[in-house]
Symmetry: C2
Amino acid sequence: MLEGTKPVDNVGLVEPKTAHFSESLALASGSELHGFDIVYETYGELNKERSNAILICHALSGDHHVAGYHTPQDKKPGWWDNAIGPNKAIDTNRFFVVSPNNIGGCSGSTGPLTTNADTGKPYGPDFPLVTVKDWVKTQTMLADQLGIDVWAVIIGGSLGGMQCLEWSIAYPDRLKHTFVIAAAPKLSTQNIAFNEVARQAIRSDQNFNDGHYYENDNKPELGLMLARMLGHITYLSDDALDEKFGRELRDGEIKFGYEAEFQIESYLRYQGRAFVGRFDANSYLLLTKVLDYFDPASETGGSLAKALAPATAEFLVISFSSDWRFSPERSQEIVSALLDADKCVSYIEIQSKQGHDSFLMPIPRYHQVMSTALDRIAEGLGIA
Amino acid sequence: MLEGTKPVDNVGLVEPKTAHFSESLALASGSELHGFDIVYETYGELNKERSNAILICHALSGDHHVAGYHTPQDKKPGWWDNAIGPNKAIDTNRFFVVSPNNIGGCSGSTGPLTTNADTGKPYGPDFPLVTVKDWVKTQTMLADQLGIDVWAVIIGGSLGGMQCLEWSIAYPDRLKHTFVIAAAPKLSTQNIAFNEVARQAIRSDQNFNDGHYYENDNKPELGLMLARMLGHITYLSDDALDEKFGRELRDGEIKFGYEAEFQIESYLRYQGRAFVGRFDANSYLLLTKVLDYFDPASETGGSLAKALAPATAEFLVISFSSDWRFSPERSQEIVSALLDADKCVSYIEIQSKQGHDSFLMPIPRYHQVMSTALDRIAEGLGIA
């Protein structure tokens, strides 16, 4: 259903919940996690048949707070509030939406900030590296706890789209549909290269101290800021930056010095600083590694079609014309492999200016595509 | 003349020369430089008519050592040896090639490393910021000293191409032709953004010490290394990186740690470290600013055609299909403006895989285009 054809509202105040798991989790790396927590939010109601659940998988810097507000004083809602809510593209009047924070992050689920019971101190750099496979496994455990055997839809953008692919491969019986948005079947060499520069920026920060900085007054803020500034450039398109900032000067004239002279310089510094306030450097390092490692085709001799062979879900693959980090060509690789594997797939490239960040934007055509697909899914479930 | 149709040789051993200028140089910033040196090399012979001189303008990390070897032990020749020499694209049997190192650099011309006579210490961060305009002015002074009134051709790639544009605008009577290669009429917002991240990487290095690091044991090497790693990614195309490194692992398997795991990671670290050995951080900062500031159209109400109105040279504009730092579209902006200004211009987009770095590569079609143009120019000069 199109935004605007019904009154659009907000999910309102929401409270994060925590799911405890006391069992040991064997990770892809060979390490084990002796129990862990997943923080998550839910919006809407699970129906009696438990058939209307949608899982939202977040991207690199995302978390479980996807829609609504935590307090009436919050200035900003969750990161995908424009898409999720009553009568919105992902309609919480019909669907039960679940959004977990992945382990290894820094927003409440077990990760580097968590106290290691063995030492009484935060894990920090000793938190084991995890993979998309590990994340999806923990998400199945959360689904079990919530009594959701089969997701109506699993939706994710960017790194979230990689989780969609992994779900469809590893747990084909547990999802009916998946929306794989602005994703890639694996990082390109250039993607890994940018991640490596971000990691080196953090690790060479004088306050990084091999990741043991939690008890210090000074944290590796400059390194994390640099990593975010660099990331930010790659999330936006050249055109979007030109349109938004051009070569505009802060003071109307060149000052011949190293203070921010162009508006884009202040903007990047501002974005970098804001990020440092809400993110942990050890988590950022870990998350870039999760991205680097994802490559399901590596287990099937390089064939993505073979990797996707177990999948039974219906796929909707969405890309954005101006996305150069995960370009439409990367989405088309997924589509080709799905077609080669004889799977059910729809594909659309959305015209957009905002680069990779488009997947977070309320682009009418994009939201229309999702709501139309969800209308059809709701009809199939008898909940339209 | 095509490579291969005549024996191709090398200019052999060359010795840099130094031109001293004792007069004060008023810079665009309002600062003054009380005398300066320009280090340069020459290849070939200036003819009696002084009509066969070619000026080579270097890019960000280039210098005056463009062709030949400094010692018989040198493993690598100058940075554009593949294009310059007897019977090469830029044929030193016919042309007299001059290649200066720009002031503000760190290869011998006056710059941050130079001792400030007022203090007896290196200028360091007190070296004034310069512009392409300033550079071109110093190049006219060098030309005066060499007795070259008019250049047959001025050739430059990337930032060197910006110097070609400035020459054609500011000193139209002093050049007959110019080859503007892999250039742009000004940096895009994204270009400035990448430069800003590079600068912040250097300036936030714990050893930067506001640029006063020459007397310290530790230099801002990690910051300069990061800046170079980032630059390097943007000089290469996504495809070139994929082809060269793909997702190849150093040890054949994921190690789940922060040592370099993918080949691209070691390659970038290696490139970064090698650069630190030959470049000065203060110079790097200054050079990124030279790039940011260049925008001739800013003086003519945003019209590049108006900015180019004074030009009388014949232009050859060359771009490379895989260059995303200064894409073919940016070269086409120059071409359009030249056509609007009713100038004489030829344009070619060379098919290449190596991204922005293509302008340094011995791509046969590229060298053929230059040598064909130079054949015609030589004929016009009666030196063919």
